[in-house]
Amino acid sequence: MGERVGKKLSQSAAPLFDALKDYRARRVVPFDVPGHKQGRGTPELTEFLGRSCMSVDVNSMKPLDNLSHPTSVISDAETLAAEAFGADAAFLMVGGTTSAVQAMIMSVCKGGDSVILPRNVHRSAINALILGGIRPVYVDPGTHPELGISLGMAAGDAEAAIKANPCAKAVFVNNPTYYGVCPDLKRIVEAAHDAGMAAIVDEAHGTHFYFGEGMPVSAMAAGADMSAISMHKTGGSLTQSSLLVMKGARVDPGYVRTVINLTQTTSASYLLMSSLDIARKTLATKGAEIFRKVVRLAEYARGEINGAGGYYAFARETANGRDIFDFDATKLSVHTLGIGLAGVEVYDMLRDDYGIQIEFGDMGNLLAIISVGDNDYAIERLVSALAEIKRLKSRTRLGLWDHEYISPVVRLLPQEAFYAERRAVPLASSEGEVSSEFVMCYPPGIPILAPGELITKDALGYILYAMKKGSLVMGPQDMTLEYINVVK
């Protein structure tokens, strides 16, 4: 491997991908794990997934490097990923963006520390607080008065929270939210750094910010310390693969690797890792072109959907300089209350009646993800199906929930509540208790209640309404949701 030293790698290279192809070509006789032995032991699975897939489902070995301690091809793949994202260091992640979010938070906070975060964070962020014994300082991200969606956290609100909590160790930001709303990231990062705090960013839905033209600012460009990036969401890698990127001297990459290794598998999947390597290569070399097409498709769909009337496909025109600082034009977010249907109802109709699976529907909106894999036919089907649903199913607007943000009342640290003595009470009569578990609609997986929070009338009403409308409400140990665990 001596020749690697000092060699400048090109973005059109994919070192991990190449190493796997070499491995396959050498026809190595495997007396190591996995036991399916290149698929020979599992004919049914091999027929289903294909021999070429099974033959590279391998374990770490010298020529293929080791994710826990990368020194060769994985290290090269990470170097290339860092460069592609304008970062100083990057980590391939195989536990989803969940693992990247948790590694970020636990790299900058330890037990008893506080982190400032908007309430509409993904559950993975709050899980990190449970694991680390970290205290949340929630900021109201803002709610859109007509659309009912939670927004991007106004920079002024973040600054006020920083001022009020000078001992907090980090500010955590979504860029963008599930719906595509972006905060004033540069200003928030600056405020955090001025107060000596780390700025860490959940860019689960922001991969394309690094490669498209005219996109909202990315975390690395805004000077943030770390970002968790779901390459699999819009970047084309396999489900569960992700990246953690970082920049600057505030956090030590070696320490981040140690934190990642606390919970990361020691048998990292080469299918996932090679998909990250290939997706990074594609984005770095063709990303601008790919996302030009994605934006064109999304703009076309918005024009057609808004032309049909009733629906409101919203985007950049909603920007207000505060809690909607910018908007991700690749997201196809559609407000459905104008046709008298909840977003989740349209979501169900699209799937059951039209064979179209979209990302999620909440009370008033639905979200279709448009990405590298989409084409004109698919968009046309979605647009036509929405027009048909409006023609056949629209109702008057009455009786729909018109707001979404529920202000959390935090009574205990998430970790304290999670490990506290608990008892199960009927959900319907749980008002006034302190929840010891999560309740959320999935997707998007943003908590309505998190461990340690008071079960308020608003929260309870929203959960019952969401269940009635057919949302997949989950989190509690009792999967039927008749009972909820509360702190004794």
């Binding site: 004109d376 036919y377 036509s384 199906a385 023609r391 056949l392």
Partner: protein
Amino acid sequence: MELWYTEEHTPNVRFSIKVREQILSEASPFQQIDVFDSEEFGRFFTLDGLMMVTEKDEFIYHEMIAHVPMATNPGIRRVLVIGGGDGGTVREVARYGGVERIDMVDIDEAVVRVCREHLHFTSCSLGDPRVTLHFEDGLKFVRRFERAYDLIIVDSTDPFGPGEGLFTKEFYGNCFKALSDDGILVNQHENPYYDSYASSMERAHSRIREFFPVCRVYQAHIPTYPSGHWLFGFASKKFDPTEGIDAMAWNALGIETKYYNTDIHRGAFMLPNYVKRALESA
């Protein structure tokens, strides 16, 4: 040396025609277009390797997809043909003097260009002054109209690739909306014999049935299509295709056909039991 065109009707069944000469091979942005000359079937053209039209048997398909609805309602004036880039369906519809307007929508301009150049026997009426060609996705085209057509003919490829959107519920719903109160929708309905085609047929039938009060299926014998037994869907808001037909009136038009006649018209709706059962359970 022998040169053969082969289509896999299923992974286990092949259909081959001996080729005299390949006339053209072109990749459009949508599909692979090939034109061949053969001893047995004359000139023929394929899309993505699948048989579309042969000089020798195209009359069966085009006569049956056009004359059945045209004879059912002699008052048809405005016709929309979706797909059908070879022009054969338009050729048959254009034979009716009462038709005032024919819109043909094909997603692939290259198919129409190739057929105008190399398949005169089907494309000969595309220059008719009543005909307007539109090159876009049929699903998109039909979405903007309300009660605008008396007849929509869906002359599409199979429901895999560019033709996929033309077998969907959203498409049939939009067709219903685009048709007048006595409108008729006819579509190529795949074959009932081989499983993969038969399931497309059943799905299409059950989706059309959701919208149209009259929903029937008729058949024809087409030697070069998989299994040779081909179905057409007939859906309408008002007209029943067998009860309503005025045979005398149609015969008085004096349209000369090679396959279609008013007896075939009635008989084509009489289906084998296995097809009936499949449609009933669809």
